[in-house]
């Protein structure tokens, strides 16, 4: 993969300037999507994981629809957190193993931009499918059509947030022993606000309070992390590669 | 303690034990480091004598 990346990334800073930030971003996203398409099983694993976890809860709790309707937002959101967790380990690991990451750090294109591209690709591959399949799973829990819409919307705002925050944890635990378990220990507490506002939006809609407040707070968190998370991730990657 | 003895002493007791154990563990850690450094040093000196 090293060659294909080198071909797609600008070789000099002058070239990078000429290409513009957007095309660098697009190149990284295109490359990661291409890689993901070649390894479909990895993409499908986290999606199936999400579906299975959500389907397990009624088996553990019982099929009472009144109860399921109440726990649905929380179950779907917690399952989304765990699914994101599962896929995060591979965010930088393969690039780290084959040396591509080192080339990225050395490349004249700003590392923050490359990292952003990888995060966007990660979301497209693992976050977006969850958003799309969520209403189907929501139906299993007898959610009303409007609640299903809010669920999709909250996941649409929330899952990029999960990828952004998770990228920091993935970069920090890169090449560290016991990385997978450690990653969840570091990242899950940081996911709590996303969980509260995301699941809360759906609950507020069901109870007739309106989901606007929750959703706008979730969006504010997303805006905040778009600025800070790539910076923290970049710093962590540089430390890991020192 | 007006019926609350278990809860009050449970709180203060555990806190006292925890706050007493921490310095003891730290002292042990400090002694362990110094001991291993001393051993290293005496090993070095013995080696110096034989050579």
């Amino acid at each position: 993969m090293r060659n294909s990346l080198a071909a797609q990334l600008p070789a000099t800073s002058a070239e990078a300037g000429g290409l513009g930030a957007l095309s660098v971003l697009a190149a990284v996203i295109r490359r990661d999507l291409l890689l993901a398409l070649r390894r479909k099983s990895e993409v499908l694993t986290s999606l199936f994981f999400f579906v299975i976890v959500v389907s397990l809860f009624p088996l553990g709790i019982g099929p009472e629809m009144a109860l399921l309707r109440i726990i649905a937002p929380g179950v779907l959101w917690v399952a989304a957190l765990l699914a994101a967790m599962l896929s995060l380990q591979r965010l930088f690991a393969t690039d780290y193993a084959d040396g591509t990451l080192e080339q990225m750090v050395l490349s004249p294109a700003p590392l923050g931009l490359l990292v952003m591209g990888k995060i966007v690709a990660h979301w497209l591959v693992t976050g977006l499918p969850l958003v799309l399949i969520a209403p189907l799973l929501g139906l299993q829990y007898d959610l009303a059509p409007q609640a299903l819409g809010i669920l999709m919307l909250s996941l649409l705002i929330g899952t990029p947030l999960l990828s952004l925050i998770g990228a920091i944890g993935a970069a920090l635990t890169l090449g560290v022993r016991g990385g997978g378990v450690l990653l969840s220990l570091l990242t899950l507490p940081l996911y709590i606000p996303a969980l509260i506002f995301g699941a809360g939006a759906v609950e507020a809609d069901i109870s007739g309070l309106g989901a606007v407040g929750h959703l706008s707070l979730l969006a504010a968190l997303l805006a905040l992390s778009v600025f800070f998370a790539p910076w923290a991730t970049t710093a962590s990657l540089r430390i890991a590669l020192e | 303690m007006g019926g609350y003895a278990f809860y009050v002493w449970g709180s203060f007791g555990v806190a006292a034990v925890a706050l007493a154990i921490e310095p003891l563990l730290l002292r042990k850690r400090q002694h362990d480091v110094i001991d291993s450094l001393r051993r290293e040093r005496s090993a070095d000196q013995q080696q110096g004598k034989t050579v």
Binding site: V176, L186, L190, P193 | S11, E22
Partner: protein, 246 residues
Amino acid sequence: MNNKIIHWFKFGSPQSFYPLAGKMLPWFVALAVILGIAGLWLGLFVAPTDATQGEGYRIIFIHVAASWMSMFLYAVMAFWAGIGLALNTRLSSMMASAIAPTGALMAFLSLWTGALWGKPMWGTWWVWDARLTSELILLFLYLGFIALQAAIDEPRRADKAGAILALVGVVNVPIIAFSVKWWNTLHQGASISMTKAPSMAVTMLWGMLLMALCLWMYSIAMTLMRVRAIILERERHSDWVKHAVE
């Protein structure tokens, strides 16, 4: 002025801080013991029995102090970690690593005493009260920091990675606290607010203040002890450590 700056930076090196920490240690231990005795005497013997909570309220003398310290220590830890990352000073990073376990202990004590307070007052060991929940998450953040540093063998990488985690954590702590409070008010029926603290007599307030100061001094003493051990462990191959051990 210039001399003064140099003087202070001198203690920024582990080599000169090690003996200094050793000299300061007994003073902070003594202060912690004195303040602790005074605080316990006020809290357990002088402070009057509370009208609504009886003698059970006396748990707050340790509970509130431990909670305050757990939050304060996280901020101090992030501060030292950030300084270590920005200025590349080894001692600051060692301070951050030395604070973390004591901070985690404070968070644990806060939860433990909170549970023992909750049982007689609310009839249950655990309520999903906003403050207790935030405290639990704070404990998780401490454990994450400790686990990350423990998993990285190379000390400087452990310092820097821990620093980024601590900084991300310290930005997140207010957000988490706010979100948990928001969540708690939305689910008001499920829990009882802890804000209905007993109206404070002046002696109670003094007892709490003394206990908080006691734990503060205790934390400083433990941090100094731990940082001394960390310095020896990390600098074991340097000449000054070999001479200091003699």
